[in-house]
């Protein structure tokens, strides 16, 4: 019989206590794991989303700052316009490397047959740096007139036709999930398609789209390498009247700032819980060791080495805490999957599960912490148990 088998049998002997301790470790592991995974997923989506946007700064009409930020974060469809002349004005600002316009259009809800609010985003194929890299990689050709690229949340497949404002659009491709509804619930079309759709809507749509060719919604800006987005944003706001320049990294930092309190609270709660678990398990193992003093004494009298007995107790603690940790990870993952929608609905934040590699690391981290907790809590009782002389240990429990 090896040490692991002996430890497993010992745990089975007091199954109620074993399950209780396992549940305690599972609860703490679940809290730590799910909170970390949740925050990491939000961060992941923000990172990927802003990378996909490809812009350092978004220039919008001054009065549209709030809805623009909201659209970027929650993907809520919106519509606002400004003069196309802003594009050249922004291009002339010192520190600006490249500019491209976009047009945001909010179609009627539940267009056609899918129960999703679609956000229409029109881009300039000649200067775009949001959709064009994707097109180059996945479609291998520019987007044609009356074609759209859709986000992953829109239930369509390439080749489908979907109507907007009375005009039919062919789905040329669907983008991979980003976790940001701005992309996942969007349909990207060329500026020319959008303007033609607006012109055609006067005779084809119930509610015509009133957008002239001299209008755009936003100017996306890439900046020179020796500049910072907030500095160029200041210059844009000074040089171009009536606009607000939103540095994309401030969108991320704003969200992080909003989540700061939550992160701190989770950290404090986790630390307190971990401390409590350490004490409970330490106390439990002290009891376990006290109960088995006679048994330990007999084993020592039969020639068992101190190290072997210490390993038995520590293996019990390790098995218990690792199993608890694993249960906590599974539980945390299940809770996140079940309530993710509800939480995000209230928080209105982007969300994307991390890559498999990160998930593995996160899971391993949770298990290591659980194992360390178990070993740490059993270390002192184990040491005190094997320290006593065999005869003394046998007599102490009589």
């Amino acid at each position: 019989m090896n040490i692991t088998t002996l430890a497993r049998r010992n745990l089975k002997r007091k199954s109620a206590r074993t399950w209780l301790l396992l549940a305690i470790v599972a609860v703490v592991s679940c809290t730590l794991f799910s909170a970390t995974l949740f925050l990491k997923s939000i961060n992941n989506a923000l990172r990927l989303g802003t990378y996909r946007l490809g812009a350092d700064i978004l220039v919008v009409p001054h009065e549209a700052e709030g809805v623009a930020r909201e659209a970027l974060l929650s993907g809520h469809p919106t519509q606002f316009v400004m003069d196309r002349a802003v594009l050249d004005q922004v291009r002339a600002v010192d520190g600006v490397k490249a500019v491209t316009p976009q047009l945001f259009i909010q179609p009627t809800s539940f267009t056609c047959c899918f129960n999703v609010d679609v956000f229409l985003v029109a881009f300039d194929p000649d200067t775009d740096f949001t959709v064009r890299p994707w097109l180059k990689k996945h479609l291998g050709r520019p987007l044609a007139l009356w074609e759209v690229i859709t986000g992953r949340e829109i239930p369509v497949v390439p080749g489908n036709e979907i109507p907007f404002f009375g005009s039919g659009f062919r789905v040329a491709g669907t983008m991979e999930r980003t976790g940001m509804d701005f992309f996942d619930r969007a349909a990207f079309m060329s500026m020319e398609s959008a303007y033609r759709m607006a012109e055609a809507s006067k005779g084809a749509a119930v509610k015509p789209l009133e957008i002239g060719r001299d209008k755009i919604s936003t100017v996306l800006v890439q900046i020179n390498d020796d500049m910072t987005p907030d500095r160029v944003a200041i210059r844009i706001e000074h040089d171009v009247p009536g606009v607000k320049a939103i540095a994309s990294d401030t969108v991320i930092s704003t969200v992080r700032h909003q989540l700061g309190g939550l992160i701190r609270a989770i950290f404090v709660i986790s630390a307190v819980l971990w401390g409590i678990v350490l004490l409970i398990m330490g106390f439990a193992f002290s009891m376990i060791v006290n109960e088995r003093r006679r048994e330990i004494g007999l084993l020592r009298a039969m020639g068992a080495a101190r190290g072997q007995l210490t390993r038995v107790i520590l293996t019990e603690a390790g098995l218990l805490s690792t199993a608890g940790g694993a249960a906590g990870v599974v539980l945390g993952y299940s809770i996140l999957l079940s309530f993710k929608g509800l939480m995000l609905h209230h928080l209105r934040l982007p969300y994307l599960f991390p890559e498999t590699q990160d998930l593995v690391l996160l899971t391993a981290g949770a298990l290591v912490i659980a194992l360390a907790t178990g070993l740490l809590s059993a270390l002192l009782p184990a040491w005190s148990a094997v320290r006593s002389e065999p005869y003394e240990a046998i007599r102490s429990s009589e």
Binding site: T228, D230, R231, I234, R235, E237, H238
Partner: protein, 345 residues
């Protein structure tokens, strides 16, 4: 007979000496103008330079905001105790008949000296030390929290630019030919030299006499920079900001802008922890708003030629006593900062 003659001569010499010393003080009394000195209490002390009467009346102060401590929140990435978020004034510039006041919460308020009305606080930076009118008419505001110089247009009320320079900036000054600008970094005790054409940092001036520095002013000759080095804090070790125990007296460090070398150190009395310098139009007198770190802040007048402080005017005590103001922040010491003077011609 000899004794009498000697006594007479000595007496005459003594009278002459007293008269001479008196003339130095009287020279300060010949100043014509109104000084506005910004304070952490959120108001500016107003001093008539022709009388040098200490402020006591309502008309002797301009209330801008509620109080705000200097050592609160984040300065150059370092966390300080949070006491208030109200602001407190710290530096101001005169633009026509308007005072543009920079606050400790990074906002800017414009006070009209004629109508006695103030604007709403406008968001500009994070934590301002000084506001200076630049050679282009724009306002240059040095930020102690993020180390940027914010460039602000008082006509359009818009930020024009922000220049990343150092850690916790406090003052800016230009050479007469406008080729170079100098910017002080408070807790690092450094003065950065900026090529004003390219806006690039071309040198950094350090000196053991500058451990904790504040605002800076170019002397009337346009070639010598006066750096206020009250040195409230001392070195903490290599690579760390100078926030260790104080290790030297307050002083003015003079830099020759031709060589960018320290050429003089004017050691000041212990109670003259100066924060700014303003020269009279004739260049004979230097006005030094200073902190005593006791129950008052003062305006010290220095004879530029002799480098001696000739007079000290209390700026806070009488007014606070009269109004029943109890200072609770900044170790219960009323702190004044930047000075701007409306010189009457």
């Amino acid at each position: 007979m000899m004794k009498k003659a000697l006594a007479g001569t000595l007496g005459a010499m003594l009278v002459m000496a007293v008269a001479l010393c008196g003339s130095k003080v009287a020279a300060a009394g010949e100043l014509k103008g109104t000084a506005y000195i910004a304070g952490h209490g959120g108001h500016l002390a107003v001093v008539d330079l022709s009388t040098l009467r200490e402020p006591t009346e309502d008309s002797d102060r301009i209330v801008i905001t509620e109080a705000g401590s200097e050592m609160e929140g984040k300065i150059a990435g370092m966390d300080f105790e949070k006491s208030k978020a109200g602001g407190g004034s710290h530096g101001s510039a005169l633009v026509g008949s308007k005072l543009v006041v920079g606050l400790l919460n990074g906002k800017v308020v414009i006070y009209d000296l004629e109508s006695k009305k103030k604007s709403e606080a406008m968001d500009v930076g994070k934590k301002f030390c000084d506001v200076i009118v630049g050679p282009d008419g724009l306002l240059y505001m040095e930020d102690m929290a993020d180390g940027n110089v914010y460039v602000w247009d008082s006509k359009t009320l818009k930020t024009v630019d922000k220049m990343p320079v150092g850690a916790a900036l406090c003052g800016i000054a230009w050479t007469k030919n406008k080729e170079k600008a100098y910017i002080s970094d408070m807790p690092l005790g450094l003065v950065y030299v900026i090529d004003w054409k390219t806006k690039q940092k071309i040198a950094t001036i350090s000196d053991p006499a500058m451990t904790f520095i504040h605002q800076i002013t170019m002397a009337p000759d346009g070639e010598h920079l006066w750096v206020t080095a009250p040195n409230e804090y001392g070195p903490q070790g290599p690579g760390k900001p100078n926030l260790g125990p104080r290790n030297q007296k307050p002083q003015i460090v003079v830099i020759d802008t031709k060589t960018d070398k320290v050429v003089e150190k004017i050691v000041l009395p212990d109670e003259v922890n100066l924060h700014d310098v303003e020269f009279s139009p004739d260049g004979k007198t230097a006005l030094l708003p200073a902190r005593t770190y006791g129950n008052d802040s003062i305006l010290a007048l220095m004879d530029v030629e002799t480098r001696k402080v000739t007079k000290e005017v209390s700026l806070c005590l009488a007014c606070h006593k009269k109004e029943g103001v109890e200072v609770t922040m900044d170790n219960k010491s009323p702190l004044l900062c930047g000075i701007v003077v409306d010189w009457k011609k």
